[in-house]
Symmetry: C2
Subunit: 177 residues, 2 copies
DNA sequence: GTGTTTTACTTGCTCAGACAGGCAATGGCG
DNA sequence: CGCCATTGCCTGTCTGAGCAAGTAAAACAC
Protein backbone atom coordinates (compact mmCIF):
# COMPACT_ATOMS: atom_id res chain seq x y z
CA UNK A 1 0.00 0.00 0.00
CA UNK A 2 2.74 2.34 0.87
CA UNK A 3 4.65 1.51 -2.25
CA UNK A 4 2.89 3.61 -4.80
CA UNK A 5 5.69 4.65 -7.10
CA UNK A 6 7.58 1.54 -8.10
CA UNK A 7 10.06 3.48 -10.19
CA UNK A 8 11.02 5.77 -7.35
CA UNK A 9 14.68 5.00 -7.37
CA UNK A 10 17.54 7.40 -6.78
CA UNK A 11 17.07 9.76 -3.93
CA UNK A 12 20.10 12.00 -4.29
CA UNK A 13 21.17 14.32 -7.03
CA UNK A 14 18.83 14.89 -9.88
CA UNK A 15 15.52 13.27 -9.21
CA UNK A 16 13.31 13.86 -12.16
CA UNK A 17 10.39 11.50 -12.16
CA UNK A 18 8.61 12.54 -9.01
CA UNK A 19 9.03 16.21 -9.62
CA UNK A 20 6.54 15.89 -12.44
CA UNK A 21 3.69 14.76 -10.19
CA UNK A 22 4.38 15.78 -6.63
CA UNK A 23 0.99 16.67 -5.22
CA UNK A 24 -1.80 14.48 -6.47
CA UNK A 25 -4.94 16.07 -5.12
CA UNK A 26 -3.61 19.39 -4.01
CA UNK A 27 -2.95 20.25 -7.61
CA UNK A 28 -6.67 20.38 -8.15
CA UNK A 29 -6.95 23.32 -5.79
CA UNK A 30 -4.60 25.75 -7.41
CA UNK A 31 -3.10 24.42 -10.60
CA UNK A 32 -1.21 27.57 -11.51
CA UNK A 33 0.02 28.11 -8.02
CA UNK A 34 1.18 24.58 -7.87
CA UNK A 35 2.84 24.73 -11.23
CA UNK A 36 4.74 27.79 -10.09
CA UNK A 37 5.81 25.87 -7.05
CA UNK A 38 7.08 22.90 -9.00
CA UNK A 39 8.79 25.00 -11.64
CA UNK A 40 10.47 27.09 -8.98
CA UNK A 41 11.67 23.99 -7.20
CA UNK A 42 13.15 22.47 -10.30
CA UNK A 43 14.67 25.70 -11.46
CA UNK A 44 16.22 26.36 -8.10
CA UNK A 45 17.53 22.82 -7.88
CA UNK A 46 19.08 22.99 -11.31
CA UNK A 47 20.62 26.38 -10.72
CA UNK A 48 22.01 25.13 -7.44
CA UNK A 49 23.67 22.20 -9.13
CA UNK A 50 25.28 24.33 -11.79
CA UNK A 51 26.42 26.90 -9.27
CA UNK A 52 27.94 24.37 -6.94
CA UNK A 53 30.27 23.26 -9.67
CA UNK A 54 31.76 26.72 -9.78
CA UNK A 55 31.90 27.09 -6.02
CA UNK A 56 28.94 29.35 -5.38
CA UNK A 57 25.75 28.90 -3.47
CA UNK A 58 22.40 30.01 -4.84
CA UNK A 59 21.98 33.71 -4.23
CA UNK A 60 25.68 34.48 -4.10
CA UNK A 61 25.88 34.63 -7.87
CA UNK A 62 23.36 37.45 -7.91
CA UNK A 63 25.47 39.49 -5.56
CA UNK A 64 28.52 38.92 -7.69
CA UNK A 65 26.71 39.79 -10.89
CA UNK A 66 25.58 43.08 -9.45
CA UNK A 67 29.05 43.88 -8.23
CA UNK A 68 30.65 43.00 -11.54
CA UNK A 69 28.18 45.13 -13.37
CA UNK A 70 27.82 48.12 -11.11
CA UNK A 71 31.09 48.10 -9.22
CA UNK A 72 31.42 48.63 -5.50
CA UNK A 73 28.12 48.80 -3.69
CA UNK A 74 26.99 49.24 -0.16
CA UNK A 75 25.21 46.33 1.43
CA UNK A 76 21.97 48.21 1.53
CA UNK A 77 22.24 48.81 -2.20
CA UNK A 78 22.68 45.11 -2.81
CA UNK A 79 19.75 44.41 -0.55
CA UNK A 80 17.55 46.73 -2.57
CA UNK A 81 18.80 45.44 -5.89
CA UNK A 82 18.02 41.88 -4.98
CA UNK A 83 15.02 42.65 -2.77
CA UNK A 84 16.81 40.65 -0.15
CA UNK A 85 17.28 41.00 3.56
CA UNK A 86 19.87 43.11 5.34
CA UNK A 87 20.69 40.29 7.73
CA UNK A 88 21.07 37.79 4.92
CA UNK A 89 23.27 40.21 3.03
CA UNK A 90 25.55 40.66 6.02
CA UNK A 91 26.20 36.94 6.14
CA UNK A 92 26.34 36.40 2.40
CA UNK A 93 28.90 39.15 2.01
CA UNK A 94 30.92 37.71 4.87
CA UNK A 95 31.00 34.30 3.19
CA UNK A 96 31.91 35.77 -0.16
CA UNK A 97 34.64 37.68 1.61
CA UNK A 98 35.95 34.52 3.23
CA UNK A 99 35.82 32.80 -0.13
CA UNK A 100 37.95 35.60 -1.53
CA UNK A 101 35.43 36.89 -4.06
CA UNK A 102 34.69 40.25 -2.50
CA UNK A 103 36.47 42.75 -0.32
CA UNK A 104 35.14 45.34 2.11
CA UNK A 105 36.27 48.89 2.11
CA UNK A 106 34.98 51.51 4.53
CA UNK A 107 32.87 54.12 2.86
CA UNK A 108 34.71 57.42 2.68
CA UNK A 109 31.56 59.37 3.37
CA UNK A 110 29.61 57.18 5.75
CA UNK A 111 31.23 55.45 8.68
CA UNK A 112 28.26 53.17 9.06
CA UNK A 113 28.52 51.72 5.60
CA UNK A 114 31.17 49.68 3.90
CA UNK A 115 31.64 49.32 0.18
CA UNK A 116 31.66 45.80 -1.18
CA UNK A 117 33.75 45.32 -4.27
CA UNK A 118 34.65 42.26 -6.31
CA UNK A 119 38.23 41.06 -6.05
CA UNK A 120 40.47 40.44 -9.03
CA UNK A 121 40.21 36.73 -8.27
CA UNK A 122 36.47 36.91 -8.69
CA UNK A 123 36.69 37.99 -12.31
CA UNK A 124 37.58 34.46 -13.30
CA UNK A 125 34.19 33.47 -11.98
CA UNK A 126 32.28 35.91 -14.11
CA UNK A 127 32.49 33.91 -17.29
CA UNK A 128 31.42 30.78 -15.49
CA UNK A 129 28.48 32.47 -13.85
CA UNK A 130 27.33 33.89 -17.15
CA UNK A 131 27.71 30.48 -18.69
CA UNK A 132 25.57 28.97 -15.95
CA UNK A 133 22.85 31.51 -16.60
CA UNK A 134 22.81 30.98 -20.32
CA UNK A 135 22.89 27.24 -19.81
CA UNK A 136 19.93 27.51 -17.49
CA UNK A 137 18.12 29.63 -20.03
CA UNK A 138 18.85 27.18 -22.81
CA UNK A 139 17.60 24.27 -20.79
CA UNK A 140 14.45 26.03 -19.71
CA UNK A 141 13.53 27.23 -23.15
CA UNK A 142 14.70 24.22 -25.12
CA UNK A 143 12.52 23.56 -28.11
CA UNK A 144 10.62 26.82 -27.81
CA UNK A 145 10.26 29.13 -30.75
CA UNK A 146 10.89 32.82 -30.34
CA UNK A 147 7.19 33.43 -30.20
CA UNK A 148 6.70 30.77 -27.58
CA UNK A 149 9.48 32.24 -25.50
CA UNK A 150 7.89 35.63 -25.68
CA UNK A 151 4.56 34.13 -24.68
CA UNK A 152 6.10 32.27 -21.79
CA UNK A 153 7.91 35.37 -20.63
CA UNK A 154 4.72 37.37 -20.87
CA UNK A 155 2.85 34.77 -18.84
CA UNK A 156 5.51 34.72 -16.16
CA UNK A 157 5.55 38.47 -15.97
CA UNK A 158 1.83 38.62 -15.85
CA UNK A 159 1.77 36.31 -12.86
CA UNK A 160 4.59 38.24 -11.27
CA UNK A 161 2.77 41.48 -11.81
CA UNK A 162 -0.29 40.10 -10.08
CA UNK A 163 1.73 39.08 -7.05
CA UNK A 164 3.47 42.42 -6.93
CA UNK A 165 0.12 44.16 -7.04
CA UNK A 166 -1.24 41.96 -4.29
CA UNK A 167 1.81 42.58 -2.16
CA UNK A 168 1.30 46.29 -2.49
CA UNK A 169 -2.26 46.01 -1.19
CA UNK A 170 -1.99 43.71 1.86
CA UNK A 171 -5.66 42.91 2.13
CA UNK A 172 -8.31 44.30 -0.17
CA UNK A 173 -8.70 47.60 1.65
CA UNK A 174 -12.15 48.35 0.26
CA UNK A 175 -14.83 46.12 -1.14
CA UNK A 176 -15.40 48.42 -4.05
CA UNK A 177 -12.45 49.26 -6.18
CA UNK B 1 26.90 57.84 -6.56
CA UNK B 2 25.73 54.89 -4.64
CA UNK B 3 22.20 56.20 -4.49
CA UNK B 4 20.68 54.82 -7.61
CA UNK B 5 17.12 54.03 -6.59
CA UNK B 6 15.66 57.08 -4.92
CA UNK B 7 12.27 55.49 -4.35
CA UNK B 8 13.65 52.48 -2.52
CA UNK B 9 11.70 52.76 0.68
CA UNK B 10 10.55 50.15 3.14
CA UNK B 11 12.80 47.20 3.68
CA UNK B 12 10.70 44.86 5.78
CA UNK B 13 7.48 43.05 5.07
CA UNK B 14 6.04 43.21 1.64
CA UNK B 15 8.36 45.09 -0.61
CA UNK B 16 6.83 45.39 -3.99
CA UNK B 17 8.61 47.99 -6.01
CA UNK B 18 12.06 46.48 -6.30
CA UNK B 19 10.81 43.00 -7.02
CA UNK B 20 9.74 44.22 -10.40
CA UNK B 21 13.25 45.22 -11.47
CA UNK B 22 15.81 43.39 -9.42
CA UNK B 23 18.58 42.54 -11.86
CA UNK B 24 19.24 45.24 -14.41
CA UNK B 25 21.78 43.73 -16.72
CA UNK B 26 21.60 40.13 -15.72
CA UNK B 27 18.07 40.01 -17.03
CA UNK B 28 19.48 40.44 -20.47
CA UNK B 29 21.28 37.14 -20.22
CA UNK B 30 18.39 34.84 -19.42
CA UNK B 31 15.10 36.67 -19.35
CA UNK B 32 12.95 33.58 -18.86
CA UNK B 33 15.26 32.15 -16.26
CA UNK B 34 15.24 35.39 -14.44
CA UNK B 35 11.49 35.77 -14.64
CA UNK B 36 11.14 32.32 -13.13
CA UNK B 37 13.44 33.39 -10.36
CA UNK B 38 11.49 36.53 -9.57
CA UNK B 39 8.13 34.86 -9.80
CA UNK B 40 9.29 32.03 -7.56
CA UNK B 41 10.60 34.52 -5.02
CA UNK B 42 7.38 36.47 -4.89
CA UNK B 43 5.21 33.39 -4.85
CA UNK B 44 7.23 31.85 -2.08
CA UNK B 45 7.15 35.05 -0.10
CA UNK B 46 3.42 35.43 -0.43
CA UNK B 47 2.75 31.81 0.44
CA UNK B 48 5.00 32.16 3.45
CA UNK B 49 3.05 35.14 4.69
CA UNK B 50 -0.28 33.43 4.34
CA UNK B 51 1.00 30.25 5.95
CA UNK B 52 2.51 32.03 8.90
CA UNK B 53 -0.89 33.38 9.83
CA UNK B 54 -2.15 29.84 10.29
CA UNK B 55 0.95 28.70 12.13
CA UNK B 56 2.74 26.75 9.43
CA UNK B 57 6.06 27.23 7.73
CA UNK B 58 6.45 26.86 3.99
CA UNK B 59 6.76 23.19 3.14
CA UNK B 60 4.90 21.97 6.18
CA UNK B 61 1.58 22.54 4.50
CA UNK B 62 2.53 20.10 1.76
CA UNK B 63 3.26 17.38 4.27
CA UNK B 64 -0.05 17.97 5.95
CA UNK B 65 -1.95 17.99 2.67
CA UNK B 66 -0.48 14.65 1.71
CA UNK B 67 -1.32 13.18 5.09
CA UNK B 68 -4.87 14.49 5.02
CA UNK B 69 -5.38 13.10 1.60
CA UNK B 70 -3.58 9.79 1.77
CA UNK B 71 -3.64 9.01 5.47
CA UNK B 72 -0.69 7.73 7.44
CA UNK B 73 2.54 7.64 5.49
CA UNK B 74 6.07 6.65 6.19
CA UNK B 75 8.63 9.42 6.06
CA UNK B 76 10.21 7.96 2.99
CA UNK B 77 6.83 8.06 1.26
CA UNK B 78 6.45 11.72 2.09
CA UNK B 79 9.95 12.34 0.84
CA UNK B 80 9.12 10.74 -2.47
CA UNK B 81 5.77 12.47 -2.77
CA UNK B 82 7.32 15.86 -2.26
CA UNK B 83 10.63 15.06 -3.88
CA UNK B 84 12.19 16.27 -0.70
CA UNK B 85 15.08 15.12 1.43
CA UNK B 86 15.05 12.45 4.11
CA UNK B 87 16.96 14.66 6.52
CA UNK B 88 14.64 17.58 5.95
CA UNK B 89 11.64 15.31 6.40
CA UNK B 90 12.98 14.06 9.72
CA UNK B 91 13.12 17.58 11.08
CA UNK B 92 9.91 18.79 9.49
CA UNK B 93 7.97 15.86 10.91
CA UNK B 94 9.52 16.44 14.31
CA UNK B 95 8.41 20.06 14.27
CA UNK B 96 4.92 19.16 13.10
CA UNK B 97 4.83 16.60 15.90
CA UNK B 98 5.87 19.18 18.47
CA UNK B 99 3.24 21.52 17.08
CA UNK B 100 0.67 18.79 17.60
CA UNK B 101 -0.32 18.38 13.97
CA UNK B 102 1.03 14.88 13.40
CA UNK B 103 1.69 11.79 15.46
CA UNK B 104 4.17 8.97 14.99
CA UNK B 105 3.19 5.35 15.19
CA UNK B 106 5.64 2.47 14.78
CA UNK B 107 5.13 0.57 11.60
CA UNK B 108 3.69 -2.89 12.34
CA UNK B 109 5.74 -4.49 9.60
CA UNK B 110 9.00 -2.57 9.62
CA UNK B 111 10.79 -1.68 12.81
CA UNK B 112 12.89 0.88 10.99
CA UNK B 113 9.94 2.90 9.81
CA UNK B 114 7.30 4.88 11.62
CA UNK B 115 3.96 5.91 10.28
CA UNK B 116 3.14 9.60 10.34
CA UNK B 117 -0.52 10.43 10.69
CA UNK B 118 -2.39 13.67 11.09
CA UNK B 119 -3.90 14.34 14.50
CA UNK B 120 -7.50 15.25 15.07
CA UNK B 121 -6.34 18.71 16.02
CA UNK B 122 -4.78 19.12 12.62
CA UNK B 123 -8.10 18.76 10.82
CA UNK B 124 -9.02 22.26 11.84
CA UNK B 125 -6.04 23.40 9.82
CA UNK B 126 -7.16 21.72 6.64
CA UNK B 127 -9.75 24.30 5.74
CA UNK B 128 -7.32 27.09 6.41
CA UNK B 129 -4.62 25.52 4.30
CA UNK B 130 -7.01 24.99 1.44
CA UNK B 131 -8.12 28.55 1.80
CA UNK B 132 -4.54 29.74 1.61
CA UNK B 133 -4.01 27.80 -1.58
CA UNK B 134 -7.10 29.09 -3.24
CA UNK B 135 -6.27 32.59 -2.11
CA UNK B 136 -2.83 32.25 -3.60
CA UNK B 137 -4.34 30.99 -6.81
CA UNK B 138 -6.78 33.86 -6.95
CA UNK B 139 -4.06 36.40 -6.42
CA UNK B 140 -1.77 34.87 -8.99
CA UNK B 141 -4.40 34.60 -11.67
CA UNK B 142 -6.30 37.78 -10.91
CA UNK B 143 -7.67 39.36 -14.04
CA UNK B 144 -6.86 36.39 -16.25
CA UNK B 145 -9.47 34.84 -18.46
CA UNK B 146 -9.91 31.10 -18.52
CA UNK B 147 -7.99 30.95 -21.75
CA UNK B 148 -5.16 33.02 -20.35
CA UNK B 149 -4.98 30.80 -17.32
CA UNK B 150 -4.77 27.76 -19.50
CA UNK B 151 -2.03 29.40 -21.54
CA UNK B 152 -0.11 30.38 -18.45
CA UNK B 153 -0.43 26.90 -17.05
CA UNK B 154 0.73 25.41 -20.31
CA UNK B 155 3.73 27.72 -20.39
CA UNK B 156 4.68 26.85 -16.85
CA UNK B 157 4.35 23.16 -17.54
CA UNK B 158 6.32 23.48 -20.72
CA UNK B 159 9.19 25.05 -18.82
CA UNK B 160 8.88 22.48 -16.09
CA UNK B 161 8.92 19.70 -18.60
CA UNK B 162 12.13 21.03 -20.10
CA UNK B 163 13.82 21.11 -16.74
CA UNK B 164 12.61 17.63 -15.91
CA UNK B 165 13.99 16.39 -19.18
CA UNK B 166 17.31 18.08 -18.59
CA UNK B 167 17.49 16.66 -15.10
CA UNK B 168 16.97 13.18 -16.48
CA UNK B 169 19.95 13.57 -18.79
CA UNK B 170 22.68 15.13 -16.62
CA UNK B 171 24.92 16.16 -19.48
CA UNK B 172 24.12 15.39 -23.05
CA UNK B 173 25.65 11.91 -22.95
CA UNK B 174 25.59 11.25 -26.64
CA UNK B 175 24.41 13.25 -29.59
CA UNK B 176 22.38 10.31 -30.81
CA UNK B 177 20.11 8.25 -28.64
C1' DG C 1 24.76 73.50 20.47
C1' DT C 2 21.12 69.33 22.09
C1' DG C 3 17.70 65.89 21.14
C1' DT C 4 15.11 62.78 18.09
C1' DT C 5 14.52 60.05 14.19
C1' DT C 6 16.27 57.61 10.42
C1' DT C 7 19.68 54.76 8.33
C1' DA C 8 23.41 50.96 7.80
C1' DC C 9 24.78 47.14 9.72
C1' DT C 10 25.16 43.29 12.98
C1' DT C 11 23.69 39.37 15.81
C1' DG C 12 20.39 36.20 17.64
C1' DC C 13 16.81 32.99 16.80
C1' DT C 14 14.14 29.71 13.78
C1' DC C 15 12.93 27.64 9.55
C1' DA C 16 13.81 24.79 4.88
C1' DG C 17 17.05 22.58 2.06
C1' DA C 18 21.24 20.02 0.59
C1' DC C 19 25.16 17.04 1.71
C1' DA C 20 27.88 13.63 4.39
C1' DG C 21 28.17 10.23 7.77
C1' DG C 22 26.29 6.76 10.64
C1' DC C 23 23.11 3.27 12.78
C1' DA C 24 19.82 -0.39 12.93
C1' DA C 25 16.49 -3.16 10.66
C1' DT C 26 15.52 -5.51 6.40
C1' DG C 27 15.96 -8.70 2.74
C1' DG C 28 18.54 -11.14 -0.67
C1' DC C 29 21.95 -14.71 -1.65
C1' DG C 30 25.21 -18.31 -1.10
C1' DC D 1 22.21 -20.40 8.73
C1' DG D 2 25.40 -16.22 8.17
C1' DC D 3 27.19 -12.63 5.30
C1' DC D 4 26.21 -8.27 3.09
C1' DA D 5 24.11 -4.70 0.41
C1' DT D 6 19.96 -1.98 0.79
C1' DT D 7 16.61 0.70 3.14
C1' DG D 8 14.55 3.94 6.65
C1' DC D 9 15.82 7.18 9.71
C1' DC D 10 18.75 10.26 12.33
C1' DT D 11 22.50 13.77 13.31
C1' DG D 12 25.86 17.23 12.11
C1' DT D 13 27.14 20.92 9.17
C1' DC D 14 26.58 24.42 5.91
C1' DT D 15 23.75 27.51 3.14
C1' DG D 16 19.79 31.00 2.25
C1' DA D 17 15.90 33.27 4.26
C1' DG D 18 12.79 35.70 7.51
C1' DC D 19 11.92 38.14 11.89
C1' DA D 20 13.32 40.68 16.05
C1' DA D 21 16.43 43.34 18.53
C1' DG D 22 20.39 46.01 19.22
C1' DT D 23 24.45 49.41 18.02
C1' DA D 24 26.52 53.20 15.92
C1' DA D 25 26.54 56.75 12.75
C1' DA D 26 24.09 60.06 10.11
C1' DA D 27 20.41 63.31 9.19
C1' DC D 28 17.12 66.24 10.74
C1' DA D 29 15.02 68.65 13.93
C1' DC D 30 14.84 72.63 17.58
Amino acid sequence: MAESTPEAGRSSGVTAQQAAVPVPGAAGSGPISHAIFRLARLHRMYAGQLLRRIGLHPGQELVMMHLWELGAQRQIDLVRLMDSDAATMTRTVRRLEQAGFVRRRPSPTDKRASLIEPTAASHALRREVEQVWSQLEDISTAGLSDGERADALAALERLEHNLVQAAAQPEEPRAER
